[in-house]
Subunit: 208 residues, 4 copies
C-alpha cells in the first residue's frame, strides 16, 4: 500500500505546484500600463518603481515558499485528510498574495503606503504560520501510520521544524518595520527571500 | 488494454486538476485595490470584507469540489466518451465560479446582494447536479466494459452516490436562505465547505 | 530510442494541455460584473446573455479542440522540430480565442454584432486550418523516421484526416451566417461543438 | 542516487513548463475590446494591429524561450540549489514579458512607441543573459557532482553555449533599432523568433 500512497502524495504536490506556478505568474497582471501623452513614457515607466519592487518581492517570496513546500513534500510519503486540509489553507494564503502585492504597488510612495506594507507583511505571517502547522502535523510521531518517509531521527526533520519556527517572527519584524517605513518593510521582505535563496545555508538548502 | 485505459484516465484527471488549480487561483483577480486618498487605507481594506468573504467561500468550495473530483476519479479506471463530456460539463461549472463570486463580492452589503447570493447558490447547485450525473454514469453497472476499477459492491461506490445525492439539496438550502439574508446564504456555503472538509465524516473523507 | 521519443511526445502534450486548460479557464475573465443601482440586479444578470452565450460557445469549442488535439497525439509517437512549430501555431490560435469571445460578448445584441461574430468565426477557421496542417504533417508517410506510432494503414489516420478536412468548411459556414445574423452564427458554432461532442460519431469519437 | 536526481529535475522542469504555459496564455489578456458605437467595429479591430503584432511577437518569443529551456533541460540530469535560483531568475523574466508586451500594444503607432519598444527589447536582453548564466552554470565542468547527463565533450554542450552567447547581442540590435523605429524593432524581435524556429539550424534545432 506504499505505492498508492506515494502516487497520491505526488498528485497533491502536482496540484500545489500548479497553484504556485499560477499565483507567481498572475503577479504581472498587477502592473498597469501608464496612460498619458506618449513622449514622456520613460519617466512614467521609471515612476512605476513601486510596482516593480512589489512584483519582484512577491515573486521571490512565492518562489521561496514553493522551494520550502517542495522540500517539505520531499520528506512526506503519505497524505491523510487533515494534511490535505492544512495544505489547502496554505494554498489559500499563496493564491491571495497577488492582492496585497497589488495594494503595495498602488500605494508605495503615496499616503497609505504603511497600511499597504502592513497588509503584505500580515499575509506573509499567516502563510508562515500555515507552513508551521503543516510541518508540525506531518512530522508528528504520535500519528499512525506515519506520514514521513524518513526515519523519525532524520536530522532534516528537526532542522526544518527549527527553521520554520522563525518564519513568522521574521515577517513580524517586517510588519513592525512597516509602521516606520513602508519601503524598508517591503525591502526587508525581499532581502529575506534573497537571503533564504542563498545556497550556503546550513539546513536543507542543498539540492533544493 | 488496462494500462492505456489507466493512462488515459490519469491524463483526463491531470487536465481537470489544471482547470481546478487555475479557477481557484483566478479568484484573487476579483479583489480590487481601493483607490482613494491614502491615509484611510485600513478602513477601506476592512470595508472590503465582502470580497474576502466571497474569496474564501469560493476557494473553500472549489477546494472541496477538487477533493470530490479527485476521490471520484480514484475509483474510475476507464474513461469513455460520454464520461469525458460529463466531466467537461462539470468543468464548465467550475471555471464559471469566479464570476458569481465576483458578483457577490461587489454586491454584498449593498442593494442587490440577494440576487447576487442567489446567483452564486444557483451556480453551486448546477455543479452539484453535474457531480451526480458524472458519478451515476461512471458507477452504472449496466455498461460494458465497466468504468470503475473497484468491484460493484465496493461500499465506497454507494456511499459516494449517497453523499452526492444530497449536494444539490444543501445548495438549494443556501439558495432559499439567500431570499432572506445574503450574508447568511454565503456563510452557509462556507460552513458547508468547512463541514465537508472535517476529517471525521463517515463516508470517504479519510485519506482524501 | 523509442522511449525518449515517447517521453518527449508526452511532454509536448502536457505543455499543450496546460495551454488549453489555461485558455479555457481564462474565458470567465471576460464576464464583467454589472455596476448599477442594486435592486435590479437580476434583469441585468439576464441582460448579459451574450456573455454567457459567448462563454459557453468558446468553452465548448476549446473543449472539442482539446479532445481533437488529445486524440491526434494519441497516434503520434515521435515529435520533430516542424511538428513542434505547427503545434505552436495551433496553440497561438487557441490562446487567442478569449479575445474574439470577449468581443462577441460585448457586441452581441448591439450594433457591430456581425463583425464581432465574423471575427470569432475567422479565428475558428484559422485554428481548424492549423489542425489540418498539423495532422497532414504528422501523418505524412514520406517522412523518415515516421512520426505516427500506428501503422500507415490504420483506419483512424485516414478518418481523422477526412474529418479535419471539413473543419474549416464548417466554420466558413458560421462565418457566412454571421453576415446574416450574429446570434445564429454564434449559435451554429455552439451547435457544431455539441454535435461533435455527441458520442455516436463514426470516426474516432469513442474512447476519446 | 541517479533516479531521484532525474525525478527532481523532471519536477523543476514541470514547474517551469507551467510558468511558461501560463505566461504565454496570459498575453491575450492585454487585448482590449474596443468600446465605441458598433457599426464601425471592423476598422477598429484592424486599428488594433499593434496589439496583434505585440501578441504574436511575444507569443513567438516565449515559445522559442520554452524550446530553449526544454532543450537545455534535456541535457541536465541533476539540479543543485544555485541552478534552481538561476532558473528562478529566468522565470522572473519570462513572467514579466506580458507587461512590456502590453506597453508596446498600447503605444505602438503613438507618441512613446520608441521607449515602449526599448522596454520590450531590454526585457528580452535580460532574459537572454539569464539563459547564458543558467547554461554556463549547468555546463561548468569544475563542479562535482556534474549536473549534465551527457559527457563533457558532447558537441551539443558547446553548441548551445555558442548559440546562447549571441542571444543578448541580437536583442541589443533590436534595442538599438528601437531608437530609430519602434515597429521595425518589434518586427525584428518577431523575425528572430521565426528564424530560430526554422528547422534547418545547425545546432540543436532537430528533435526539439
Amino acid at each position: 500500500m506504499n505505492a498508492p500512497a506515494e502516487k497520491e502524495t505526488a498528485r497533491v504536490e502536482a496540484f500545489s505546484d500548479g497553484v504556485f506556478a499560477i499565483a507567481i505568474t498572475l503577479l504581472v497582471l498587477e502592473m498597469k500600463v501608464p496612460h498619458t501623452a506618449g513622449a514622456a513614457l520613460w519617466p512614467q515607466l521609471l515612476a512605476q518603481w513601486p510596482s516593480y519592487f512589489a512584483f519582484i518581492t512577491s515573486f521571490a517570496t512565492i518562489g521561496i515558499m514553493w522551494l520550502n513546500h517542495h522540500r517539505m513534500f520531499g520528506f512526506i510519503g503519505r497524505i491523510d485528510h487533515p494534511l490535505l486540509i492544512l495544505n489547502g489553507v496554505l494554498l489559500l494564503g499563496v493564491t491571495f498574495v497577488p492582492y496585497p502585492t497589488s495594494v503595495v504597488a498602488s500605494y508605495l510612495g503615496h499616503d497609505g503606503e504603511r497600511p499597504a506594507a502592513c497588509f503584505l507583511a500580515t499575509t506573509y505571517i499567516l502563510i508562515a504560520i500555515a507552513f508551521n502547522l503543516l510541518w508540525r502535523y506531518a512530522s508528528s510521531e504520535s500519528r499512525k501510520p506515519r506520514l514521513l518517509r524518513v526515519p523519525p531521527d532524520d536530522p532534516h526533520v528537526a532542522a526544518l521544524r527549527g527553521s520554520y519556527r522563525f518564519g513568522p517572527l521574521y515577517y513580524l519584524a517586517t510588519l513592525a518595520l512597516a509602521f516606520v517605513s513602508a519601503p524598508a518593510s517591503v525591502g526587508l521582505n525581499l532581502a529575506l527571500a534573497v537571503y533564504w535563496a542563498l545556497p550556503a545555508r546550513p539546513a536543507g538548502g542543498r539540492s533544493a
